[in-house]
C-alpha cells in the first residue's frame, strides 16, 4: 500500500513538472523569443487558459503527499522553509503578472509584468531543480525526524550543508534549461511567425547546453549519493527509466531539428518523466535520505500514514483522477491549435 502511494505521488509530481513545466518554460524564454507587445501577448495567450490548471498539480500532489506521508511532508516542508517561502513569493508574482498584464494598455504596465513573469519563472525553475538536488544529496535529519537547512553555507555538500552547494546548483541549472527547452517547444507548437521561429531556434541551441549539464549531474549524483549505484546494481531492470529519459532526449534533438513541434514537445515530456523516475527509482525506498546518519532517513515505510487512511484514499483518488484526466483532455482539445495574433475573448 505504501509503495502504491509512493508511485502515485511520484506520478502527480511528474505531471506537475510536465504540465506546469511548459508554462514556466514559456516564461523563461518569454523575453527572448517575443519582442513586441503583440508577440508577448501571443506567448501569454498560449498558456492563459491552462496555466492555473497546471499549477493545481502542485497543490494536488502536495495534498496527496500530506495525507499519505505526513512525516515526510512536515519534515521536508519545515526543513526547506526558506526556499519554499521564496517559491511561494515567486508563484504569487508570477500568477499576478500573467493575470494582470493584459488588463491595462500602457507602455510602463506591460513591460513591467513581462519582466516579472520571466524573472519569476526562471528563478522558480532553478529553485525546483535545487530542491530535487537536495533530496538526492540527503539532508541532516536528526533523531526528532526534523531538520533545517540554511540557504547556503560554504557551498560544500558536507557536514554543514546548505540548500545551494556545488551539487545542487548544477541540478538547478539543469532544471532551468530543461524547462526552457520544454517551454520553447510548447511556444513553437502554439504560435506562428517570428515567435515560432525564434522559439525553435532557442530550443535547438539550448539543447546542447542541456546535454552537457545532464551528463555532468548524472556523474555528480552517483558520486554524492552512493545509494543510487547500489539500487541500480541490485535491480538492473530499473535502467528502463534512464533509457526512457535518453530516448526522450534524442527525440528532442531529432524532432526539434525537423521542426515537428508536437513530437518534439512530447519528447521533452518523455525526457522529464524519464529523469524524474530515474531519480525516484534510484532513491527508493528512501524518500528523504538523511545525510550524515543514513539510518535516520525517511523511507516509504516509516513515513506512511495508517493503512486505513491509505485504503480509503484510493477509493476517492482513483475516480477523482479519472475526472481530472477528462477535464484535461477536454480543455487541451478545446484550446487546441495556434493562438491567433489578435484573439478576442
Amino acid at each position: 500500500m505504501e509503495t502504491i502511494w509512493f508511485c502515485l505521488v511520484a506520478v502527480m509530481i511528474a505531471a506537475y513538472v510536465v504540465f506546469d513545466g511548459f508554462d514556466i518554460g514559456a516564461g523563461i524564454i518569454h523575453m527572448f523569443v517575443a519582442r513586441t507587445n503583440e508577440e508577448r501577448r501571443q506567448v501569454l495567450l498560449s498558456i492563459g487558459p491552462v496555466w492555473d490548471g497546471n499549477e493545481v498539480w502542485l497543490l494536488a500532489a502536495g495534498g496527496t503527499l500530506y495525507f499519505a506521508f505526513p512525516p515526510l511532508y512536515s519534515s521536508s516542508f519545515s526543513g526547506f522553509y526558506l526556499p519554499l517561502m521564496m517559491v511561494l513569493w515567486l508563484l504569487i508574482l508570477r500568477g499576478i503578472s500573467i493575470e494582470f498584464r493584459n488588463h491595462i494598455d500602457s507602455p510602463i504596465w506591460q513591460p513591467l509584468w513581462d519582466r516579472v513573469f520571466s524573472g519569476a519563472s526562471a528563478l522558480l525553475a532553478i529553485f525546483f531543480g535545487a530542491a530535487l538536488g537536495n533530496v538526492v544529496r540527503g539532508v541532516p535529519i536528526d533523531a526528532t525526524g526534523f531538520f533545517f537547512l540554511p540557504l547556503w553555507t560554504n557551498f560544500q555538500p558536507g557536514q554543514e550543508a546548505g540548500i545551494l552547494d556545488w551539487y545542487t546548483i548544477p541540478v538547478g541549472l539543469t532544471a532551468f534549461l530543461t524547462l526552457a527547452v520544454h517551454g520553447a517547444f510548447w511556444v513553437s507548437l502554439k504560435t506562428a511567425g517570428a515567435v515560432q521561429m525564434r522559439a525553435r531556434a532557442a530550443a535547438r541551441t539550448l539543447w546542447w547546453g542541456l546535454a552537457a549539464l545532464t551528463v555532468l549531474i548524472t556523474v555528480l549524483s552517483f558520486r554524492i549519493q552512493p545509494h543510487l549505484a547500489e539500487q541500480y546494481g541490485q535491480r538492473p531492470w530499473g535502467f528502463l527509466f534512464p533509457a526512457i529519459g535518453v530516448a526522450g532526449f534524442l527525440g528532442m534533438k531529432f524532432y526539434g531539428n525537423r521542426a515537428r513541434d508536437l513530437a518534439a514537445f512530447l519528447a521533452s515530456s518523455t525526457f522529464i518523466v524519464g529523469m524524474l523516475t530515474s531519480a525516484t527509482f534510484g532513491l527508493f525506498p528512501y524518500v528523504l535520505p538523511a545525510s550524515p546518519d543514513v539510518s535516520l532517513s525517511l523511507t516509504v515505510y516509516n513515513s506512511a500514514a495508517s493503512d486505513y487512511g491509505l485504503k480509503v484514499g484510493l477509493a476517492w483518488w482513483i475516480p477523482g483522477m479519472l475526472l481530472v484526466a477528462a477535464y484535461f483532455v477536454f480543455t487541451y482539445r478545446h484550446f487546441a491549435g495556434k493562438v491567433a495574433v489578435n484573439e478576442e475573448y
Binding site: 497543490l59 502536495g62 526547506f80 533545517f148 487512511g309
Partner: protein, 414 residues
C-alpha cells in the same frame, strides 16, 4: 464563492430571457470574479504550504486526518474550478450559450466544494472526530465518513457559504447603487441592486437563523469556555442575559457599561429562560482563550453587523416593489456604503472562531504551542512574515486598483 453563485443566476436569466443585457452583466462580473480568483489562487497556495512549513509538528501528528480533506480539495475542486474558469473566461464564443452556462455552473460547484473541504478541515480542528491516538502520539484516522459529516461542519459550512453569498450580493448591490447615484449605466445599476438586495436578504436571514444560531449551539455544547468568553460572561448564571454592548475588564473580571437583554442568552442556547450557562470563573484559567477581549469584540462586531445588514436589506427589499428603491437616494447611499461591512463581519467571525479555539490547535488534543516547526527560528519566521506583509500590501493595492478600473469602465463595453 458568493459571486460564483450570482454569476450562475445571471447566466440563467440570460438563457431564459435570451436578453443580451444579462450576458453583458455576467461578463462584467466575470472580470471582477477573475481578479478575485487570481487573488484566491496566489494567497491560497501559501496557506496550503504553511501547514508543513510553519506547523510541522501539527502536520506530522494530524496529517493523516486533515491531509485527506486537503488532498480531496485539490483533486475534486481546484481542478474543476480552474478548468472551467478557463473555459468560462476564454471560451464563450466557441462553447455556445448553453455550454457557457454549464461552465459557470461548474465554477460555482468547484468553489463551493472547495469551501466544503476547507471548512471540514477547520471543523475537525474545532471538534475532532473519527480518529484514535496511535502509539507515537500520532492521530490516526478511523473514519473519513465521520470526518466529512462532523456535526460541526454542517453549521459552519452553511454559515460560511451564506456569509459569502451576502458578501457577493452586497458588492453587487453596492456597485449598482453607485451607478444609479452617479447616473451611469442605469439599466445595469437596477439589475445589480435588485439581484444584490434579493439574494443578500435571503442569505442574511439564513446566515443568522438557523446557521449562526446552530454555530452558537455547537460552541455551547463543545467549547463552553469559548462561549463564556465570547459573551463576556464571567459568572455562572441561571438565566444568563445577552449582552448587546459593554467592555470586558479583565482585571476586575466584570463587564463595564453593560446593555443587556435579560435571560436571552439562556433562551437562545437552551430554549429555556432559566437555563444555566457557565461563566469563565467556572473553568481553570489554562483553558481560557488567550485573548478574551479580542474574542468578545470580534463576536459582537459580527453579530451586530449581521443584525444591521439584515435590517437595511429587508427595508430595501420592501422598497423594491414598484421600484421605489431606485428613487430613494438615501437608501441607495446606504446600500453603496454597505460594501465593506460583510468583509468586516466575515473577518470578525473568523477571529471569533480561531481565537475562540485557543489555546488549542486541535480542540482538546493539541495545544497551539505544541504544533510549531521545531527548527524554524523566530528570525526566519519574522523574515518571511515581513515578506508576506509587503507582498500582500502590494496585492491589496493592485486588487483595489484593478477592480476600481473595471467598475469605472462599466458593463456596457463587454
Amino acid at each position: 464563492m458568493g459571486l460564483a453563485l450570482l454569476l450562475v443566476v445571471l447566466k440563467t436569466m440570460a438563457l431564459r430571457t435570451g436578453n443580451e443585457h444579462y450576458n453583458r452583466s455576467a461578463r462584467f462580473w466575470a472580470k471582477i470574479f477573475a481578479i478575485n480568483f487570481a487573488m484566491g489562487v496566489v494567497t491560497g497556495i501559501p496557506m496550503e504550504f504553511q501547514f508543513g512549513t510553519n506547523w510541522a509538528r501539527f502536520s506530522r501528528a494530524a496529517g493523516g486526518v486533515i491531509g485527506q480533506t486537503l488532498a480531496m480539495e485539490g483533486v475534486f475542486s481546484f481542478f474543476l474550478e480552474s478548468t472551467f474558469l478557463g473555459l468560462f473566461l476564454f471560451g464563450e464564443k466557441r462553447l455556445g450559450q448553453l455550454g457557457h452556462w454549464v461552465s459557470a455552473f461548474m465554477v460555482f460547484l468547484g468553489s463551493w466544494l472547495s469551501g466544503f473541504f476547507i471548512i471540514a478541515t477547520d471543523s475537525w480542528m474545532q471538534h475532532p472526530v473519527g480518529y484514535e491516538l496511535g502509539p507515537k502520539g500520532e492521530i490516526v484516522l478511523t473514519s473519513v465518513w465521520a470526518l466529512l459529516t462532523n456535526p460541526w461542519v454542517v453549521w459552519q459550512y452553511f454559515h460560511n457559504m451564506t456569509a459569502s453569498v451576502l458578501t457577493g450580493s452586497a458588492v453587487m448591490a453596492s456597485v449598482g447603487a453607485y451607478y444609479l447615484l452617479v447616473g451611469a449605466h442605469l439599466a445595469y445599476g437596477k439589475t445589480f441592486v435588485r439581484l444584490g438586495v434579493i439574494a443578500g436578504c435571503i442569505a442574511c436571514v439564513v446566515l443568522i437563523f438557523p446557521t449562526g444560531d446552530g454555530q452558537g449551539k455547537m460552541v455551547a455544547q463543545h467549547q463552553p469556555v469559548t462561549l463564556a468568553a465570547m459573551e463576556g460572561l464571567f459568572d455562572t448564571e441561571q438565566g444568563a442575559d445577552m449582552v448587546i454592548l459593554g467592555q470586558p475588564d479583565m482585571e476586575k473580571m466584570k463587564l463595564d457599561n453593560p446593555l443587556k437583554i435579560p435571560n436571552m442568552l439562556s433562551f437562545l442556547t437552551y430554549q429555556r429562560w432559566k437555563a444555566e450557562i457557565k461563566g469563565l470563573r467556572a473553568f481553570p484559567k489554562d483553558q481560557w482563550p488567550d485573548n478574551i477581549p479580542l474574542l468578545y469584540f470580534s463576536y459582537h462586531i459580527m453579530v451586530g453587523l449581521g443584525t444591521i445588514m439584515l435590517l437595511l436589506l429587508a427595508v430595501s427589499l420592501l422598497l423594491l416593489r414598484g421600484d421605489a428603491l431606485f428613487r430613494q437616494p438615501f437608501m441607495l447611499w446606504c446600500l453603496m456604503l454597505l460594501l465593506p461591512f460583510p468583509y468586516v463581519a466575515t473577518t470578525a467571525g473568523w477571529i471569533t472562531a480561531e481565537v475562540g479555539r485557543q489555546p488549542w490547535l486541535i480542540y482538546g488534543l493539541m495545544r497551539t504551542s505544541e504544533g510549531t516547526s521545531p527548527y524554524v527560528s523566530a528570525g526566519n519566521g519574522l523574515f518571511t512574515l515581513l515578506g508576506f506583509m509587503g507582498l500582500y500590501t502590494l496585492l491589496g493595492i493592485l486588487f483595489l486598483f484593478m477592480v476600481h478600473r473595471e467598475i469605472e469602465h462599466g458593463p456596457e463595453g463587454g
